[in-house]
């Protein structure tokens, strides 16, 4: 039993953090709010070149062949930076599902380009809403008990605005066919659901941490009544509670990532616990960081809103806390 990340895992996360500091500062995230794609110019390529995009693809398909435990720290960093690229949908969900449950033709067609970042994938495992669908080359979609891999030119998209305008959601009209059908069985689909939950939970933890960092800095600087706002015990306790929520969501996320990769028996329960705790943590972080800022944060001009809105979106995406608590309850037999 050793809960520490390996040096390789830690180093990779540091590398991603450095890339995002350069290529995904708040001003760049704002370009993704306003442009046609919801993405930052060049960032996808950089992430592909670094190995982030292809991290989960099989090694014989130009990938790094890694698992969820290798992704969690990266996902945290993507959340911390409010990175708008569809790494979650592509790397954490679509690629592993194709690797595991794609037909031979689908694997041959998509895995190598996806690993290299030349093809971009998005997916839904049951939700009405697909993020970044219009920018993807193909979509992994669900039809009842089946999964399908559908080129984007074979679907009709209706844009659905998110509170977070970098999230280019759409509802998708499409026809399942023998050609699009994947071999993924129920177990593979369930594993994909868990992967999505853990990756989303890790992003929530990163977003929550950034909201906390942002707010700690603000309340140290902002003065009212002759003192920094942060001297008030109410502010201290709000932020201590945010810190606590993050502090206890994080190891649960790591455990869930490890359990998925290791195929441990608690993988389902742990991934739902992780998303429930992480959704709640980011929800609390949103509310408390806004409250501790006051009116300044209630505008689109102030950068906090980029994380607030990402936070609200990711708290809901891939299952709300309520949904995942329900799954935990089922696994407990209640």
């Amino acid at each position: 039993m050793d809960f520490r990340f390996s040096d390789d895992q830690a180093l990779f996360a540091e590398t991603v953090r450095g890339i995002l500091a350069n290529e995904c500062p708040p001003a760049a995230v704002r370009t993704a709010w306003d442009n046609d794609t919801g993405t930052i110019d060049g960032l996808w390529s950089t992430l592909a070149a670094t190995g982030v995009v292809g991290k989960t693809a099989p090694e014989d398909q130009a990938g790094l062949g890694m698992g969820d435990v290798d992704l969690v720290r990266i996902m945290e960093e993507l959340g911390w930076a409010a990175c708008p690229e569809v790494v979650l949908e592509h790397t954490a969900v679509a690629v592993p599902l194709i690797a595991e449950g794609g037909t031979v033709a689908q694997r041959d067609r998509w895995l190598a380009p996806a690993a290299a970042g030349d093809a971009r994938l998005s997916c839904s495992l049951g939700s009405d809403l697909v993020n970044g669908a219009a920018q993807a080359d193909a979509l992994v979609l669900r039809s009842g008990d089946e999964m399908h891999l559908v080129p984007v030119d074979a679907v009709d998209l209706t844009p659905q605005a998110s509170v977070d305008e970098t999230r280019r959601l759409a509802t998708v009209a499409w026809e399942p066919s023998e050609e699009t059908r994947m071999d993924a069985d129920a177990a593979a689909i369930e594993r994909a659901e868990r992967r999505a939950a853990v990756a989303a939970a890790a992003q929530c933890v990163g977003i929550a941490q950034r909201l906390l960092d942002f707010t700690v800095e603000y309340v140290q600087e902002r003065r009212q009544f002759g003192s920094p706002v942060g001297v008030n015990q109410a502010v201290k306790h709000h932020l201590a509670d945010v810190g606590k929520a993050i502090e206890f969501a994080r190891p649960m996320v790591y455990r869930a990532g490890w359990s998925l990769t290791a195929g441990a028996p608690d993988a389902a329960e742990a991934s739902s616990m992780a998303k429930a705790l992480a959704s709640d943590a980011v929800d609390l972080a949103c509310r408390s960081s806004l409250q501790c800022h006051g009116a300044i944060a209630y505008t689109v001009e102030y950068d906090l809103q980029l994380w607030l809105k990402r936070g609200w979106a990711m708290a809901a995406a891939w299952g709300t806390a309520s949904h995942h608590r329900d799954l935990v309850g089922r696994s407990l037999g209640v």
């Binding site: 009405d128 605005a161 998110s162 009116a295 809901a316 891939w318």
Partner: protein, 388 residues
């Protein structure tokens, strides 16, 4: 104790209910804080005014029908349950209005009230400054007397509805050597005053609902001073604790929202998408709290109508309704699951977005004195805990 509505109160309820039913059909309402929506809502103020429903609790001379406080609460309940649009001149009618009744000269009242009631003049509040939020008494905008005018210099911010309002009620420092609560005055400023520049600022929902105001040797007639020069803090505090002010916010809005929440829960339950945990309790709690708020308000109104007063206890009200509103909308988002993130622009959101309501609700615990400050007031002034 007699909680039966009287025949008069019931007749009043019927009258407003019928009028609303007949006058709120079919129109699509643009968001109030867009240029188009602002003017559309101004028109609705006029419609209300013409029917005598803009300011029902005001004197007849200013377009009211002198209804009782209880009747005003009935009016508000009907207004929100009827789904009538938001009131673009709320800042004027409910914040400035009571203050103007208490401190305004006859001339000021005659000058401002009719146009406030009809929507011809929409008001915004200019109190906060970049360095003066919770700590309002630290404000720096100055107004120096120059003959029959004041010359105003400084900057105001978070001025709700300030982008298109016609008038702004401000607190300014008329004694430049004064500190804190002393030397402040309450000044009514026309939005077209020379030397006043406005910059719209987009709220969290993207609508330009705020403005920043820049005063650069802006000249304002001295007639527009409300109350005595140098007594602005007292005038402002009277606004904040007025029995008809923000703190006695009518329960109608929350009852209507709680009713919508119950309907949402039922529809989600029917669709089979709601997990069997916590959410039912949260829906019940929201409805229960809205009901408790309702009776609390009627109780306070009864006391106020019979000589009672509400001082610092108003802080209980503000904390309660603002947190109820946040919880209620947060529950709705949980019920919506993955659709909860949709903005009102999304076709699936069906034109009305709980997320937009949630964003709006989140301003409640911040404005008009943060809930942290309200809880300090409760502890120190209601319960008697030591300040230091």
């Amino acid at each position: 104790m007699d909680l039966t509505f009287s025949a008069t109160e019931l007749a009043f309820r019927d009258e407003i209910r019928t009028w609303l039913r007949d006058n709120t059909q079919g129109e699509d309402w643009a968001p109030m804080d867009t240029e188009e929506g602002f003017e559309q809502h101004r028109g609705w103020e006029r419609t209300l005014f013409d029917a005598g429903w803009s300011v029902p609790n005001w004197p007849a001379a200013y377009g009211g029908r002198e209804c009782s406080l209880i009747e005003w609460l009935v009016y508000e309940e009907e207004y929100y349950l009827g789904g009538a649009p938001g009131r673009v001149n709320t800042n004027g009618i409910t914040l400035l209005g009571p203050t103007l009744f208490s401190f305004g000269t006859q001339e000021q009242q005659d000058r401002f009230f009719p146009k406030m009631a009809s929507g011809e003049e929409i008001w915004a509040q200019g109190w906060s400054e970049p360095d003066s939020g919770s700590d309002l008494a630290s404000l720096k905008t100055t107004a120096v007397r120059d003959g029959d005018h004041f010359v105003v210099n400084g900057q105001k911010t978070w001025c709700s509805r300030g982008a298109w309002a016609d008038w702004i009620f401000c607190i300014v420092r008329t004694d430049p050597d004064s500190e804190r609560h002393r030397g402040l005055s309450y000044l009514l400023v026309p939005a077209d005053a020379p030397g006043l520049t406005r910059r719209p600022v987009s709220r969290l929902d993207g609508e330009p609902a705020f403005a920043e105001l820049f005063f650069d040797d802006c000249r304002v007639a001295a007639d527009n001073l409300l109350g005595e020069e140098g007594q602005g803090w007292g005038v402002a505090m009277a606004t904040a604790s007025s029995e008809r002010g923000l703190n006695l916010r009518a329960p109608g809005r929350f009852l209507a929202a709680a009713t919508r929440l119950v309907a949402l829960y039922r529809s989600v339950l029917d669709a089979g998408t709601v997990p069997d945990n916590g959410l039912r309790e949260q829906v019940i709690d929201a409805y229960t709290d809205a009901t408790a708020y309702r009776w609390q308000v009627y109780r306070k109104a009864s006391e106020l109508m019979h000589g009672g007063s509400m001082g610092s206890e108003a802080s209980y009200m503000k904390v309660f309704w603002s947190e109820l509103d946040v919880e209620l909308h947060a529950t709705a988002l949980r019920l919506l699951g993955e659709r909860g993130e949709l903005s009102h622009h999304a076709p699936l959101a069906d034109g009305g977005s709980w997320m937009t309501g949630y964003l709006f609700s989140l301003s409640g615990p911040i404005y008009a004195g943060t809930n942290e400050i309200q809880r300090n007031i409760i502890a120190e002034r209601v319960l008697g805990l030591p300040r230091k």
